[in-house]
Amino acid sequence: MTAGAATAALVAFAARLWTAPRARLGLLLVALLVLAAAAAPWLAPYDPSAQLDLATLQLAPPSTAHPLGTDLFSRDVLSRLLHGARISLSIAVLAVLVAVTVGTAVGLAAGYGGPVLDAVLMRVVDSGLAIPRVFLLLMVLALWERSTSLTLILVLGLTSWFPTSRLARAEALSVRRRDYVVAARALGLPSWRILLRHVLPNIAPALLVSAALGVGQIVLVEAGLSFLGVGVQPPTASWGNMIADGQTHLLAAPWLAAAPGLALVLTVIAFSVLADGLQDALNPRSS
């Protein structure tokens, strides 16, 4: 799918969502976030890594020149916040994409394939769910010397797909009994076609809702990792490492930690509201 076609599809989808009143708020909030993040290079007043004036602008409180103040290295907090949004959101969205893709594939195979495949796959999923994610992440990241964004995305995605696969499996099991799927079998349609055109589109709403919530969650996880120093590495700004930096100066310069912290909260809320809205909007209209 070309980028143009993908964007067009996304816009059409958003337009359809817009018609459902309950989805509008979530759509607005997320759109604002995404726009702010995407436009960071133009919106940000300063270069996020630029140390502006170590002499006088260290830990400066919010002012007209610096609406969110400056940090220890006299970098503009607002600019770092905006660029950090870009990083955090893109990592989260891509990681969720990985998670949903793998989770859906595994879930569909388990839900639609035979009982043996189901049993085997679900035991794998059970093991995955049993290991606390933070430990898993820390282990993996510790083994990887440098964590680039790509590494982060892959690791986050590949450790988060387990719940999605359960959801996909449950949905697939329910959809597969429906008359239109039996009809598709009766018509002699091949299994791949049934999965792609009949099962997948009808489990998609649940998966989308889960994905929206997932973005909020993964933003938090990434922030946590960055906070601990194993996520996004300085000098690149991420909300997580900004909080880490601000932690030491909590009393003297509370804005350093407060700004990214608040941004995190707002992001999670925005995606939760979107998920709610999606839930309402995506059910096929029944009289």
Partner: protein, 342 residues
């Protein structure tokens, strides 16, 4: 002449309430069912809940795998076909469901749904396919412009017509109609029944009609098979069965049908209790606990009646089928004294 469909001794069991390993007695949906349908004939399979009629319909198309027994279609052993052969065979036999709203993918337009089988089987594509879809929709009484509509935009009757169009686009020879009109309004049901009759006459189709409404049966069927608790208990031509049922259950069904005429004498065979649950079955005749036959005796409790020929073309599973009363003389079943009505 070999019948188009020949099913013998079909058995289908489902795991008990606690699944494969939890135990619990299995649910016996079919307990050794044999039916034959001639080409061009319409066989109605009639029964109530737990009779196994829906399971039978699905087994005839191998949409459900029977546990035991054989199904032959035009001489071919259906159960021996491999997956790919089975898939190709499906062009010859189709199914129409009870709830048209559930039988159509809510996210596909009608046109796409009707076109899909053509594409999947490599029969037609592009404008050729579109042409065939338009013809199919017209044939079932739908406006071809409906092809762009989604199922939720159509009425119940229109949806069912779309389902029929989709079922017929591959030009099958055989159709299983599973309660095709029971979820439709009365006036609309009549239209759809007329449509099914017309299509059958024009295309020379063979139908197995699964129904519980005997008025629907009377309209489409040539022969009737009455099912009770996983067995066929009576078969015969429609008119003969309606005029003189040989099995007491058939008599009860016939008399229970509400007649829209307040002067008609209603329900002269009243059954007590409920159909037995498919899980627990009495030892002798499964119908014995509720049976109003005047000749019912100990033999009925102990010995399961054989499904045998009573007259030419008429079979019934009752020890005393030869002595079944005339339609209007059937007595009511006695009220149970100690046995609970299930």
């Amino acid at each position: 002449m070999t019948p188009l469909i020949q099913a013998r001794d079909l058995v289908k069991e489902y795991p008990g309430p606690h699944g494969l390993w939890g135990g619990g007695p299995p649910v016996r949906a079919l307990r050794g069912v044999s039916v034959a349908v001639e080409r061009g004939e319409t066989l109605a399979v009639v029964g109530e809940s737990g009779s196994g009629k829906t399971t039978l319909g699905r087994c005839l198309l191998r949409l459900t795998e029977p546990g035991a027994g054989t199904v032959a279609f035009d001489g071919t052993d259906l159960l021996a076909l491999k997956a790919e052969e089975l898939r190709r065979w499906r062009r010859r036999a189709q199914i129409v469901f009870q709830d048209p709203g559930a039988a159509l993918n809510p996210r596909m337009t009608i046109g796409a749904a009707v076109r899909e089988p053509l594409i999947a089987h490599g029969i037609a594509r592009g404008s050729d396919a579109a042409q065939r879809v338009a013809e199919a929709l017209t044939e079932v009484g739908l406006d071809p412009t409906h092809a762009d509509r989604y199922p939720h935009e159509l009425s119940g009757g229109q949806k069912q017509r779309a389902v029929i169009a989709r079922a017929l686009i591959l030009k099958p020879e055989f159709l299983v109609l599973d309660e095709p009109v029971s979820s439709l309004d009365v006036s609309v049901a009549a239209q759809v029944l007329n449509l099914l009759a017309d299509l059958r006459d024009v295309r020379g189709l063979t139908y197995v009609l699964i129904a519980h409404d005997l008025r629907v049966v009377r309209h489409l069927a040539d022969r009737v098979a009455v099912m009770y608790a996983g067995n066929v208990v009576e078969t015969g031509p429609v008119a003969a069965i309606y005029a003189s049922p040989r099995h007491p259950y058939t008599a009860a069904l016939l008399s229970a049908m509400p007649v829209p005429d307040p002067t008609a004498r209603q329900g002269h065979v009243m059954l007590r209790g409920e159909p037995p649950s498919p899980v627990s079955m009495p030892a002798g005749c499964p119908f014995e606990p509720r049976c109003p036959h005047p000749r019912k005796d100990r033999r009925c409790e102990a010995e399961r009646p054989e499904f045998r020929e009573i007259e030419p073309e008429r079979r019934a599973a009752c020890h005393y089928a030869d002595e079944s009363p005339a339609v209007s003389s059937w007595p009511n079943a006695p009220r149970p004294s100690s046995s609970a009505p299930a």
